[in-house]
Amino acid sequence: MRYSGFRVIAEALTGHKGWKPAWRDPAPQASYDYIIVGGGGHGLATAYYLAKEFKQARIAVLEKGWIGGGNVGRNTTIVRSNYLLDGNEPFYEFSMKLWEGLEQDFNYNAMVSQRGIINLFHTDAQRDAATRRGTAMIMHGADAELLNKDQVRAMYPFLNFENARFPIKGALMQRRGGTVRHDAVAWGYARGADSRGVDIIQNCEVLGMRIENGRVLGVDTSRGFIGAKKVGVAVAGSSSKVMAGAGMRLPMESHVLQAFVSEGLKPLIDGVITYGAGHFYVSQSDKGGLVFGGDIDGYNSYAQRGNLPVVEDVAEGGMSLMPMIGRARLLRMWGGIMDMSMDGSPIIDKTHIDGLYFNGGWCYGGFKATPASGFVFAHLLAKDIPHSTATAYRFDRFAKGLMIDEKGQGAQPNLH
């Protein structure tokens, strides 16, 4: 069933009796050609593109809970392609281009809103880094601009320019950056995949992998064994747990990242603002809530909740950057579990087990990567070769000394 303005009007006039379930609730079949483990944004996008772009069939997505209940439903909804390194930027720019056509592609309004993102800088060294990054972005086909202090002030006059411990000197801006209605991304992909025959199986937890002679045969689940020719794992937050089922140790730790939303407010902040002298970034949702976040709590955790020190640290950053928010109220805080990898960049690769593929290690970057992650993972699953924008996301890059370390922090996940 196709969504459209006309449809909405027609349904409104006939009591909304015609709306059908957004996706079916099928029972698992005995076997599939492709099993995608994880009904989050990445898993659902993978299934969608497998079916739509790579014309594959007999695909199932297995989700232990309800689809979209993981990080795709608990993030700060920012999309951008302002990465520095060759291993990353082509991929994130590919993702940005997919965002730009996504709603028409999957016929669901995910409110992809390119209202611009700025990264403030406060020192000459940060400005030099912004020049290096911005130039690299443009070389990779993305957009970037360097704003001076006055240009930033014209855009956001309420920032603290006068009485700041670390004065604002300017910003790197990507106008194509912005926000997306996060839940709608999961639902849109789910609906699009379902309508192309993908079985989305909720409340079906993968308990183990069945592997014989170095080849995967399928997965044991809370709803029984399900056979598969190929199994793709996209379970960011639980990657180490699931891959342990295949006897693998991963180059990552799980950490909790808190995010926050304020009470609804009339429009204040049009785009996305990232503070360069504190751990704080903010945007305003279409409903009016200020959506903001900062650093991970910093210790290994699977708890999906954080502690006060980081809450306070984020608020301190916010108050020092925009002292007007003192009288806005924090309404809700939540925590998502991040795969924090050893160089801050993801892994999308085959494993040493035939038919078993892995997608994870997204650190903070998972949401904005969703479309490209699904696309390139589908490419890898369907063709057994990496997509041209994701050739660097290999397991063996650490052994070879080819880390993709945007922050230059080395092998310490909680610093990325």
């Binding site: 639980s238 990552m252 210790y299 290994n300 052994a399 909680n414």
Partner: protein
């Protein structure tokens, strides 16, 4: 969180800096055969358990002791806190 420092008693975790898995104690010998492979595993691979985890914390704003904290990564419950120096010695580290 509260870390019950073996010498100083309960302290707010905000006084500490977190490093990671206490397996880092077992640094391979850089001059030994096959050191490269050992260092790659040592530096990059983690068990990352959902459950009991032995991890290194540094009391940077306190007495500058490195501690080995045994903590459940699902509940955050802490069941043991030891001086890393003592743990390292009992696990065979010396000079």
């Amino acid at each position: 969180m509260i870390i019950n420092h073996p010498l100083l008693g309960p302290r707010d975790s905000q006084e500490f800096v977190y490093l990671g898995d206490a397996a880092l104690i077992h640094r391979p010998d850089g001059m030994a055969e096959g050191a490269l492979d050992k260092f790659i595993d040592y530096t990059y691979l983690r068990d990352n358990p959902a459950g009991t985890h032995r991890e290194l914390w540094y009391h940077e704003q306190g007495d500058r002791s490195w501690l080995v904290v045994t903590r459940n990564t699902v509940t955050h419950e802490i069941t043991a806190v030891e001086l890393a120096r003592d743990v390292a010695r009992t696990e065979g580290r010396s000079k």
